[in-house]
Symmetry: C2
Subunit: 331 residues, 2 copies
């Protein structure tokens, strides 16, 4: 069996640390791991694969020693600067940042949805935005059969989506301390404001959901709107998804399709209070789908409630899955 050398960039962050946990679980044929972070963390150690790994400072020459893969989770700035360097040295980068997602030369990949795109890469593969990943995992299998016509997204996004600082901010504002990470206190509020506002009144997060869904589904003209909202929940994003399909469907069959879809767990038995919840999804790699019911206000309308661990499937797990698939096809 071929073995590989993998770099984890941003290994000390919330996503990076979860990348390490997922790598431990996935047991890929990696012969050597190397962990990178900023100068601030360099020289410290972190537990990984049952031992203490030293954190190395990421520099222009970090990739000179040769890597097969690198998983970047250190923000758009670091990715913009270092991912092309890694790629130029034959390392395939799976990038968790937004830096390259909409670059037409860069595939934007969710393994359950469009793994085929990953193989046509020029060294960089982008990991989509967390809220988009879980949506398309649930939508693609139904789209295949009934063809999506329009999507209305309303999200309920956890504070962990803003990293350790987001988590701390929920705790701090719960204790009456002032806010600093979010524009307003997240405690006792739902903030309709994730990432920055753009000129047309949409936030970047909303535009990401619209544009990334289109790119992943290969439907550049798909009609989508989105309202993305931060809620005072620690981890796992929930989404109210309203979809119209081109073709008539029966709800039972949609449920059956989802039950058989990779990476999807259907939790949908309202009579027993069974539906997806953030605390159920947290710590798991799957996308949970429930409240599957017809929207009677349009001919082929459907409502879904979709929940996933935004740090796992929304970031770390999806990235590791991409590497795993590339390795599988390289054996």
């Amino acid at each position: 069996m071929k073995t590989y050398k993998l770099a984890v960039v941003g290994a000390t962050g919330l996503v990076g640390q979860t990348v390490l946990r997922v790598l431990e679980e996935f047991r890929l044929p990696i012969r050597e791991y190397k962990l990178f972070a900023s100068k601030r963390s360099a020289g410290t150690t972190t537990s990984f694969m049952g031992q203490e790994y030293v954190i190395n400072e990421l520099t222009d020459t970090s990739f000179d020693e040769g890597f097969d893969f690198a998983i970047f989770s250190a923000g758009a700035g670091v990715s913009t600067r270092f991912a092309p360097i890694a790629a130029s040295k034959s390392c395939i980068v799976v990038d968790n940042s937004s830096a390259f997602r909409m670059d037409p030369k860069v595939p934007l990949v969710v393994p359950e949805v469009n793994i085929e795109d990953a193989f046509c890469n020029s060294g960089i593969i982008a990991n989509p935005n967390c809220s988009t990943i879980q949506a398309v995992v649930a939508l693609k299998p139904i789209d295949r059969v009934f063809k999506i016509k329009r999507i209305v997204y309303s999200t309920y996004q956890a504070v962990s989506g803003a990293g350790q600082k987001g988590i701390l901010e929920l705790e701090n504002t719960s204790n009456g301390l002032p806010h600093s990470k979010f524009a307003h206190p997240i405690f006792n509020n739902c903030l309709p404001h994730i990432d920055v506002f753009t000129e047309n009144g949409y936030t970047k997060e909303e535009l990401k959901m619209i544009n990334e869904t289109r790119k992943i589904l290969h439907r550049p003209d798909l009609r989508i709107t989105a309202t993305t909202v931060r809620v005072p929940v620690l981890n796992s994003h929930s989404e109210s998804i309203n979809v119209e399909f081109e073709n008539p469907f029966c709800v039972k069959y949609v449920r059956m399709i989802l039950e058989k879809s990779p990476g999807v767990i259907v939790l949908d038995d309202p009579s027993k209070d069974v539906y997806p919840l953030a605390t159920i999804a947290t710590g798991h790699n799957e996308v949970y789908v429930g409240r599957i019911r017809r929207d009677y206000s349009v001919p082929n309308g459907l409502n879904l409630w979709v929940v996933a661990d935004n740090i796992r499937k929304g970031a770390a797990t999806n990235a590791v899955q991409i590497v795993s698939e590339l390795i599988k096809h390289d054996q």
Copy 2:
């Protein structure tokens, strides 16, 4: 000036107590107030209008002494039994419960929207569901000009909507104590489950939003779907509302209409992080509207973010406003 005698039924509950606060603020020409609750609370006192009022037990003969108005906030059971008795004794009941809302003989009234309906009553006027009230206050002024074609509601509803027990449950589950009021712990979760589930997979809360919006707007066939969600927020409901209109509109004009609409406060300056929030709405009687922006996925689409104090405008204030309007027209 004519003066009136008013009964407050359910005076010790979360809504009932807020009815008292709103009555203190509104200073209606009421010459005599009488407060009622269940046997359990009878004999206790509560502060109201600067003095201590005795709570009386509600019985079949409570309305024999003659009342002009009664505001009921004691649940559907109490309303079903006692509101007809009050009405039969010439008392006009404004009922906060769901008992009579869809009764074709009972007007369902939001003063800013359809106060005219209130005058055609047979002794009972229903106060709509909290999540519906704030939605129609925001939607009606735009509907008047551009005619709504379809609505997709996704709600972010505070625990106070479930009364004192809901508030206690958020506190308890935050402290690791078990849940009892909601089907699952509300701490760190968004529960897509308000009121009970019905056969078609919708909750009663979702059906209330659909049916009550239609009744209040006098549009029995209006196309609406809804996903209603309880969030770990103390007070004030937020709503992501997606609307399609029959006629073309310009967003600036929509904003202008809303700015001039009674009971609406527009908070919509994203560049300055200004948008409605639960903590801003709490304690106020108005409906806050922001994130007003075009939905580009349909010809005449609009997204709104609508927040209001569910105990005030969603219940107590709306009821007192109805009484206030009836008095104004009776002078």
